[in-house]
Subunit: 198 residues, 2 copies
DNA sequence: AAGTTGTACGAACGATCGTACAATTAGTTT
DNA sequence: AAACTAATTGTACGATCGTTCGTACAACTT
């Protein structure tokens, strides 16, 4: 079982394309992402980029999945190593804030950008984005639900927590104001304290 | 002092253009908004639309201002008729939720869309959007600050309240799920109750 | 060595983008 | 009625968009 050097090379350029694609899309959106620009910046031919995906929609879909993989590795996986309930939930919150604050993507959270861009549209790209959002929400909810002595609705708690994160991201990017993260951290901490003391 | 019928007619088509522009932009964003599409949908010439603004950037700026005026009339002005502090803040919250839920713009809140679209860019459009967001935030903060017996930081309270609103909007649009508004209303109510009882 | 497969390329396609400018229409002023 | 002005139009432009095609070349199979 030998690896085909041609395929290997193809997959590598493909990874390079997608890594650049998520960066561009986090700033300009998935529509602002153009095949020509991608080709120019990577010093490859436009048709070469195109051939890797077959259509712009497919490029967008693969870009979303690539961003999700990065997000998952950086935020979800480390948190899953921690014990269920409180510690894991705290890790998810802080992991998300670090992921956004550290500008894993130059435009801040990739999904905040593309969610707002595609939420009112139709098609496979929107559906995929919605699906990733559902997974993230479910994860936060399910983790919150396993906090010992939690009396309130974990879905409601998860909604409020995620709201803090999302607003911190957009505020920090829009106003170049890192204080938004301070607010979000304070909000998360006091909200969690309230949820367990009640 | 007579009104010029030509100018009057011009301003009317201009209003029609902008009304359609905010609707399109709330779904497709300010970049997805194109002069050609605008002309086609309104059954006027492309050059006619262009002449009203002189450049695409100017069209975008005027579109943002037009959306702000609609938002202000619908959410801010009615709330300002109420007494300062609690009642006014509640009116702002409920007014915002009704504005979003009632789909004043087909894509949900206009500003949620364009904020995420332009937050990581540069230029006059982004600056204008950032300025409107600052005004909205300041209004909520200042109104919260005038609640009698408020012990906590009104900026922090405003941050959390606005976060609920924003998330409700994007969730309801992305998942076609009206329950997001129920969550936001519950969050706003309990958060306000907490702020005054503390 | 010959044949096949996969990646990447260059050129060209029709469509649409924003923009420019001269011609036309409609309303106002003299 | 003539002169003027503002709104609107038609035509054209260069650039870029996504997409298609034939081709070149390296790598694998037989």
């Amino acid at each position: 079982m030998k690896v085909d050097g041609r395929v290997e090379r193809g997959e590598q350029t493909r990874r390079q394309i997608l890594r650049r694609a998520v960066d561009i899309a986090s700033v300009e959106g998935l529509e602002g992402l153009s095949i020509g620009r991608l080709a120019t910046e990577l010093h490859v031919s436009k048709s070469g980029v195109f051939a890797h995906f077959g259509s712009k929609e497919e490029l967008q879909l693969k870009t979303v999945s690539a961003a999700a993989a990065i997000f998952s590795d950086l935020v979800v996986t480390p948190a899953l190593a921690l014990p269920d309930g409180g510690p894991r939930l705290t890790a998810l919150m802080e992991g998300w804030l670090a992921y956004s604050e550290g500008r894993t993507f130059p435009g801040g959270c990739f999904f905040s950008t593309v969610q707002a861009e595609f939420d009112a549209r139709e098609g496979r790209v929107r559906d995929l984005i919605a699906d990733y959002d559902r997974r993230w929400t479910s994860l936060v909810s399910a983790t919150a639900a396993r906090i010992p002595g939690l009396t309130e609705d974990p879905d409601q708690l998860a909604f409020e927590l995620v709201a803090y994160l999302e607003l911190a991201n957009v505020r920090s990017v829009l106003h170049a104001d890192p204080a938004a993260y301070t607010r979000a951290r304070a909000a998360v901490a006091s909200r969690l304290a309230l949820a367990v003391s009640a």
